[in-house]
């Protein structure tokens, strides 16, 4: 079910104006989260105008005093969505890249959770998300999503370039 983000309760978040565009919030269980939009240059060629607009979207548990897996918490999901929107209010032509951690082979589960989160908060209303995957020589799959605003003037070029890179047609 889609939810209206504006009306949902959220945690207070703060932004640190560093080069990684870092955001912070703390849950009621005192779990500290850090979110970064880190400029990245590995996806598009360095001479592409898309390169300087591309940021890796990172969600990290910074501190967890509970010693348990972070519990399901609707405020956390809404806060992450609000941070995403806040970043795009400041950087409306940006392209976000989300790559699930594959070091423990749980990347497919993370990707499903991420899809659910993206759709739940109606981000698909103002944003486009493309999901593709690459496979290494050992057969390990790396799901990669890119997201940008529907009104991004580079949208056709982004899709074309992303498809080329993921298909191995571009270095």
């Amino acid at each position: 079910m889609k939810k209206d983000l504006e009306k949902l309760p959220k945690y207070t978040f703060d932004n640190y104006a560093d080069e990684d565009n870092t955001y912070f919030f703390v849950t009621k269980s005192q779990i500290e989260y850090l979110i970064k939009f880190r400029q990245t240059n590995y996806l598009f060629s360095t001479d592409s105008p898309l390169n300087s607009l591309t940021f890796e979207f990172i969600i990290e548990v910074f501190s967890n005093p509970t010693g348990k897996n972070p519990p399901l918490d609707s405020l956390t999901s809404a806060t992450v969505a609000a941070i995403f929107q806040d970043f795009y209010q400041r950087n409306n032509h940006s392209i976000s890249v989300y790559i699930c951690d594959s070091s423990d082979s749980r990347q497919a589960i993370r990707q499903r959770k991420f899809d659910l989160w993206f759709n739940m908060f109606n981000l698909s209303n103002g944003f486009v998300k493309f999901d593709l995957a690459i496979k290494d020589k050992e057969g390990i799959i790396y799901p990669i999503s890119i997201m940008f605003r529907t009104d991004n003037p580079h949208r056709l070029e982004i899709i074309e370039q992303f498809d080329k890179v993921i298909s191995g047609y571009s270095k």
Binding site: Y11, T12, F13, D14, Y16, D20, T22, F24, F25, V26, T27, K28, Q30, E32, L34, K36, R38, T40, Y42, L43, E56, I58, E60, F62, S63, I99, D101, I134, K135, D136, K137, Y142, V165, I166, S167, G168, Y169, S170, K171
Partner: protein, 63 residues
């Protein structure tokens, strides 16, 4: 004259994908290192302290 894109062999394409995966892994490593630096950053520690205190007040009130 328009440039014609070179058709790559499956091996060449896989080599490009493997190079991309290596760049992704290098980036993930750099991110982890930056987060470790963030842990020792007094400004970030102060932000989290303030957010924790605000939360304590907010959820104590609503408990």
């Amino acid at each position: 004259m328009e440039a014609v894109e070179k058709e790559l062999s499956p091996e060449e394409r896989q080599a490009n994908i493997d190079a991309l995966i290596e760049k992704i892994k290098a980036s993930k490593k750099q991110i982890k290192e930056q987060i470790e630096k963030d842990r020792n950053n007094p400004e970030i520690q102060a932000i989290f302290k303030r957010l924790r205190e605000e939360n304590e007040k907010r959820f104590r009130k609503t408990a």
